[in-house]
Amino acid sequence: MLFRFVERKFWYFAFSALLIIPGSFFLAIGGLKPGIEFKGGTLLDLKFGAPPPAAELHDVFGGLGHAEAVIQGAEGGRMQVRTLTLTSDDISKTDQTLKAKYPSFLGDDASTVSPSFSAELVTNAVRSIVFASILIVLLIAFAFKEFGWSAFRYGFAAIIALLHDALVVLGLFAILGYFFTVEVDSLFVTAVLTIIGFSVHDTIVVFDRIRENLHLNRGEALNPVINYSIMQTLARSVITSLTVVLTLLALYLFGGYSMRTFALALLVGIVSGTYSSIFNASQIISLWQEIEDRIRHRGGRPPAGVRAAAT
């Protein structure tokens, strides 16, 4: 059984574009909503005779339109609530609600908090990824050194697959942010970093099989080799993602509410990483080769008419 992974590459590219373009659009118009950790906001120090459970308090703030509230219990019956910036009207409304619901509510203390994560965290992460990408290209080029200069195209294809996966997740959360005001926090940043790590890992496994098969079958055309290399690694790609997806699915379904966004981001990213390693990465190599062949064909040999005239 041979599946035509390479011949149908434009369908797979189109499918990826379908996933990425809407997300990128919402990303560009600022759909990705930074959470309190990046924006700062208001810290309410609530005092209770008998503090309610954090989850219950979270629901109360959700009812007041502040689902972003982070609740943290403190010594002496205090509950610290971080929300996006509250006006004094918001605060008095919150006070009334809390007084009505909790007889033991004693009052609060509101202050403005700065972001706990600087923009520096994100810029540093992005800079690190750019730097790491360059090193990954070099590492892959080194691993595939028997191909000479073409080794670099494997590195670039891996980076394109990486960008694909990062964009799918960023785009999804931009859409979620735009329509459902889902916010991203520092955990989201780590989720994206995790996805990037997984993506490269997955791609390298497929590429290494292509390398080995090209080595064993010298002189064979690239496309069929890519086809059966993907076929041979298919079981491994699916099984490995499946094991990670199982763990994440359990986290998504049974984990607490604060885990949801995080598990969702990872889940989507891992699935996308598997898709791009099977349906995109090697196809880029194939496309690259085809374009190169076409150019060489045109430049290397004189056009048919000229050749006919010469002979």
Binding site: L43, P53, G73, G76, A125, T194, I204
Partner: protein, 456 residues
């Protein structure tokens, strides 16, 4: 050779499990919850425990009040800027103590909210957050005949620690006492050399936050901007001073106005549920591996248990502060540990289907799966190393857990799994092809076992 490896792995496993066991819950034969040793007069004691982050465990919260009015000589810097600078300094100080992932926020303009995971040492936390670490070298007042009067005055402009290169602790003198080695950067290094010429054979005073810590006599003319601070330090206090000096002085005096215990930001319930969910997920993975790969699956699960015990032990020893982000790194590295096994087993199956004997298939499978495992893990380690170097806070912690996880998973997948696989084929009853997830070949049908035994 194989035997030696096997013993080494058994020893590593035993040590890892010993480190993993929470000691304070057991009546141990000796009263030491960690690593303790005594050598001559020196004794060291390192407590082994799991360090959980603020999100999972909660910790201590300090609210610090800025006192710009107490800045000596007054200040023209706005309070917002002072607040920013002070937070940068505190962040640097805490980070240089290890990866502990604090929360540092400004609370209004004139307060700083600082949360540290755990409650290990409140006094130390307060000292680190509030000690100004303002270093100044003062020179002696001299009487008419040029002898020191015992009092000191500042130079103009004052020679302070603002221009110090990174300091470090060294041991010097007859009793090998810990001292802090410092070096002035330009232009203060020239002033330091000049000072040694002007006050040769006279004492200078080294002040920290307006208090004398030592007043050494200058015995010779200095040739460089370096010197040492002696002050009857212990190794710990010397390190603390060095850290404070390296992180820079606080631009404004701070005072602790409130300190309290805080609960985890994720909520106990949420954390507990996530842990249960994670355990269910891992159980499913183990079940799947055994059902799909049969005997190699069982071996992979044993290797994964080894992996988990060893990684957790390393987390406790470094120590790594585990946050939810760190747990993500851990999950990813488990995924990669599983992957390395899957890669090897898929190759093994392929070789077996091609008619190779178990022993040959094992070696071929390992040899051919190795480059994939090596390069994919190298790429991850490379990325994680860069993130660790340039990252801050959460990202740094995540990178550290990922590095530890991937390195250990590489070790388990390549050494432990292989060793167990080779051990398994020593037993005739474990050589049946069915156990390795391949059909009995019609070719060797009834004699499958015998054929394998002969050629293995």
């Amino acid at each position: 050779m194989n035997r030696a490896w096997a013993w080494a792995i058994v020893v590593v496993a035993i040590v890892a499990v010993w480190v993993d066991i929470p000691k304070h819950q057991f009546p141990f034969p000796f009263d030491c919850p960690g690593v303790c040793y005594r050598l001559g007069g020196q004794s060291t004691f390192v407590e082994i425990k799991t360090h959980l982050g603020l999100d999972l465990q909660g910790g201590t919260q300090l609210i610090l009040q800025l006192h710009p009015e107490r800045v000596p000589g007054g200040t023209t810097t706005s309070i917002d800027q002072l607040n920013n600078q002070a937070r940068v300094v505190i962040d640097r100080r805490i980070n240089s103590l290890g990866v502990s992932e604090p929360v540092i926020e400004s609370l209004g303009a004139d307060k700083i909210l600082l949360q540290l995971p755990g409650v290990s040492d409140l006094a130390e936390a307060q000292r680190i957050a509030t000690q100004q670490a303002f270093l100044e070298i003062k020179v002696p007042d001299l009487d008419a005949s040029g002898n020191p009067t015992g009092t000191y005055h500042s130079l103009t402009p004052p020679l302070t620690g603002a221009n110090l290169k990174p300091t470090f602790v060294e041991f010097s003198g007859a009793n090998n006492a810990p001292v802090v080695h410092f070096e002035f950067g330009p232009p203060d290094d020239q002033r330091w050399v000049q000072l040694s010429k002007d006050f040769l054979n006279k004492p200078v005073q080294i002040n920290l936050d307006g208090k004398e810590i030592s007043a050494p006599r200058i015995n010779q003319v200095f040739t460089s901007g370096s010197g040492i601070i002696e002050g009857g330090f212990t190794t710990k206090t010397a390190k603390e001073l060095s850290t404070l000096l390296n992180s820079g002085a606080l631009p404004v005096p701070l005072e602790v106005v409130q300190s309290s215990r805080v609960e985890p930001t994720l909520g106990q319930d949420s954390v507990r549920r996530s842990m249960v969910a994670g355990a269910i997920g891992l159980l499913l993975v183990a079940l799947f591996m055994i059902l799909y790969y049969r005997l190699p699956g069982v071996i992979a699960v044993i290797a994964l248990l080894f992996y988990t015990a060893l990684t957790y032990a390393i987390f406790r020893l470094i120590p790594v502060t585990l946050t939810l982000a760190g747990v993500a790194g851990f999950i990813l590295s488990i995924g990669m540990a599983v992957d390395a096994n899957v890669l090897t087993f898929e190759r093994l199956k392929e070789e077996l289907r091609n008619g190779k004997t178990l022993r040959v298939a094992l070696d071929e499978g390992r040899r051919r799966a190795f480059p994939s495992i090596l390069y994919s893990n190298l790429a991850t380690i490379l990325t994680a190393l860069i993130l660790f170097n340039f990252g801050t806070g959460t990202v740094k912690g995540f990178a550290l857990t990922l590095i530890v996880g991937v390195v250990v998973s590489f070790f388990t997948a390549v050494f432990v799994t292989q060793l167990l696989l080779h051990a398994a084929i020593e037993y005739a009853s474990l050589r049946r092809r069915r156990l390795w997830g391949v059909e009995e070949r019609p070719a060797d049908g009834r004699d499958g076992r015998a054929a394998a035994s002969v050629t293995a």
